[in-house]
Symmetry: C2
Subunit: 441 residues, 2 copies
Amino acid sequence: MALVVQKYGGSSVADAKSVKRVAKRIAEAKRAGNDVVVVVSAMGDTTDELLELAAQITPLPPQRELDILLTAGERISMSLLAMAINNLGIKAKSFTGSQAGVITDAAHGKARIVDVVPERIFGTIEKGQVAIVAGFQGVNSATNDVTTLGRGGSDTTAVALAAGLNADVCEIYTDVDGVFTADPRIVPTARKIDRITYEEMLEMAASGAKVLALRAVEYARRYGVRLHVRSSFSGAPGTVVSGTFGDPIDPNAPDGTAEHGAQQEENAMEDPLISGVAHDRSEAKITVVGVPDKPGMAARIFEVVAASGANIDMIVQNVSAAATGRTDISFTLPEGHGPDALAALRNVKDEVGYEALEFDDQIGKLSLVGAGMKSNPGVSARLFGAVRDAGINIEMISTSEIRISIVTRADSLDDAVRAVHTAFGLDSSDGEAVVYAGTGR
Amino acid sequence: MALVVQKYGGSSVADAKSVKRVAKRIAEAKRAGNDVVVVVSAMGDTTDELLELAAQITPLPPQRELDILLTAGERISMSLLAMAINNLGIKAKSFTGSQAGVITDAAHGKARIVDVVPERIFGTIEKGQVAIVAGFQGVNSATNDVTTLGRGGSDTTAVALAAGLNADVCEIYTDVDGVFTADPRIVPTARKIDRITYEEMLEMAASGAKVLALRAVEYARRYGVRLHVRSSFSGAPGTVVSGTFGDPIDPNAPDGTAEHGAQQEENAMEDPLISGVAHDRSEAKITVVGVPDKPGMAARIFEVVAASGANIDMIVQNVSAAATGRTDISFTLPEGHGPDALAALRNVKDEVGYEALEFDDQIGKLSLVGAGMKSNPGVSARLFGAVRDAGINIEMISTSEIRISIVTRADSLDDAVRAVHTAFGLDSSDGEAVVYAGTGR
């Protein structure tokens, strides 16, 4: 008997019919002999509707009150889901984040989980009942106030609970079949990835793959929680995210993981070179033009930008022109952080002595992710070649151990993704050859 | 400086615009120097919408889950209201029933308040902030589960908090101007009652006047909480419900009560004979035909009906016909309790030996309420005369110390209410003569 944490997103419980469908799936997992704990998001567009209500009241709601408002969403979905499961003859009880023991810090709207004390959840599964837990929310134990976890909060709740309960697997149900080698809306030949490491998934999520929240993957890696990302609309296995492909697989693990054990162990000797191609259209580029080429100027610029609250991603500094003694510094950041960063930079114009600021929100970022590229010198060359052959200009480049990212014009991004996806043999028409047999291997 | 508890019903906070209007009124009370605690119901039709969602899931939702679902409604209204008040420059914080210390028993869906421990509310008003509390809900401290109080729950929350906080007044805001001498939709000449005793208000509420929940009035009488029922749409004073009309009035009391102090003290010597005419169309009549006229038969019938969960109201037993040795017993009860009561009676047909059952849901009840009628023998005669003169047949009669109720055909009820209202000089066209100068005085 396994202990399974299942997480269902808002699109999986968008209306009464969907809630009943999800209840059926939960009942099946329970009847198959598992202990089941379910984390659920607010139904469909509920959160947006509540935000819209708040916006009708005031443009600047106190964050404490906004958190109270938003948590009404999960309260509705969790109680309806519990009703639907009870209706199928299986006892189920719903719990708020607070009741489930999800303890957070006091940062309303973006609280971090500091502890999980799931005594009531243990008690519920010990009685053979299903526990439904509200995602996205917790309680600040110092003030007893309700908090929300911000973006990706429900995924994080699920992973944190799975860690706190020492669950066998955390299944993340969504409206797609798993993690893909690229966004299927852009690359119709994209393939579902059967398994991926935490590190690769982190790079994919950080590079724009939306199926799993970055925070949740970080949490899962830290506590060794095995994730299974899969569709709530089909019974097919999805993508397993775990430490290494060679992990021994529990033959009693819930549906969709056990059957792949053998295959995974075989492949452990031969990691795929490339996991997939992620893309991100949500960033913008700021260029600080004509920065005096003196020590400390770049440091000062990034100090100021960081203090404005902006998350800096990629940075490029042009070679300074000897003639002018000046250089241009470009960096990317989430588009929404642009105004604050620009305002902060304007404040230090005289101090830094730069000539001008440029803001460009028409950029796109492509990231190629794969643990196998670590020891593979041919990957960058193949990536740049594919993009060049597609007639697309590369504006910025950054790399990590297992990722190469490039910035292009936004309107060239889709073509670039398709070209790279093909160049690395990821297209499903290429058959089962998941493992890249490139020059460097 | 007074401590005021204000309660706003769902119709007062039906949309964002109404929430802002209510916030303005709260801000005014706060700026006038009062400490303000606000109890709020769910917005407009929210509760019905949530019930409809539950009905789409299952016809028999577990009551624990239904309570969790329904409490989402106040969560939304209370946080929006807190936002709106903050937006006016006054600090406000919202609290669930649980956070506000509303402790109940475990009877989900109809929980009774067993204690109020409003530490967080005291803390909030001590900081000069407005506390917003979710009506209709509490927490069962044994299980830590959320409960709802059922019908009239928000009024009861407000009164319980006012008692627990030792508030100077509990203002119940609604969509009418106060308690009226009759329903103005039936009697256009009905007058607003300026003041009424707990006992009279109890009889009015029990007899069908909907403006205040019976439970809340009982609670207010028990703890001596002064109520002020008034409109959230106008600044006019409404109806004060208190122990006796002679109560000394605090000159620093919030708006609408102080100004009436002098007038109330004057009138204390001369209580109005009649408070008003209530009506109720929600009852039905069951007649047990041909009950053997033996000792214990009536007792057995009412034992069985009570065990079915029905609330019996009026009872009439006809004089038994000596020839047959049988009698008919009629009683009224809430229409919805009819099916269970009938089923229970059918089960004892042989035991009791009655001949038949009749069910009549086309009845109406009129109740004349007034503390002054205690010592006034002319009141019943005048009531029966007025109804007879209107050509309406009286089917049942019951009385208490300060109330006379009659049952008529449902389609005669409005005419009866108008006739009685006029006969007791309650019509507003009769000028300011609130005090009846009838035969008996």
